[in-house]
Symmetry: C2
Subunit: 131 residues, 2 copies
């Protein structure tokens, strides 16, 4: 089945692995995508793309995140090997989070996306449209 017939040449191509261009339902990439494109996942990865940060700073930067969600998201990202957690056994607890190498790889792709969203959001959401 031929899919692209006479369309504006897509400079970017889907992974060839997709037989017939179908995104399989059980595919692990679905899960991973869910993690990294989750509401708070994106923001946390973005925040960390600027360098290691502490719990409380992440809370401040991802405005509106609850402690629960921050903990949960960080745990998921850590399990996925995107974020590394370094806890120092000092008396007021101090934990630093940072991106792993893999995390940086990802954030390099994520940052332009968010930057684009940031630039276009106002136009699109509040838009020139009046309806």
């Amino acid at each position: 089945m031929k899919v692209s017939t006479a369309d504006p040449a897509p400079a970017t191509r889907l992974p060839a692995a997709l037989a017939d261009g179908v995104f399989p339902a059980g595919c692990p990439s679905r899960t991973l995508l869910d993690h990294i494109t989750s509401k708070w996942g994106v923001l946390i990865l973005l925040a960390l793309s600027e360098g290691g940060q502490r719990w409380s700073e992440l809370r401040r930067r991802a405005e509106g995140v609850s402690e629960k969600m921050l903990a949960q998201t960080l745990k998921t990202l850590e399990r996925d090997g995107l974020v590394s957690r370094k806890a120092q056994p000092v008396i007021p607890p101090r934990v630093d989070y940072s991106l792993t190498e893999r995390g940086y790889e990802l954030s390099a792709l994520l940052v332009p996306l968010v930057a684009w969203a940031f630039e276009n959001a106002d136009d699109i959401i509040n838009g020139p449209r009046t309806d």
Copy 2:
């Protein structure tokens, strides 16, 4: 407040508009990001990045999507000016969906992300990890 002190130089930078690197809660980019990083939003944008397609083909390619969710997601993306809908008033209904110029802009950023996820997913989710 200095954020990045001695971290692996991030080649990619966040939009400078972010004061203090804080992602504001009420920001329209949050909404837009929610739309494009939604479970089905990503897949539909990706599918369409290969060219215009019909309703039934999108259903097949975004495996597991329900008709309701497909309709809803397409409507949101259309309202955001990312997808355009062309309905032909023929007798068995025929509707073609495609990306707008803005949609293509976005998909150019989205495709590498998904490709990366696709490549790394197996490793990360089912992983070399045994626990």
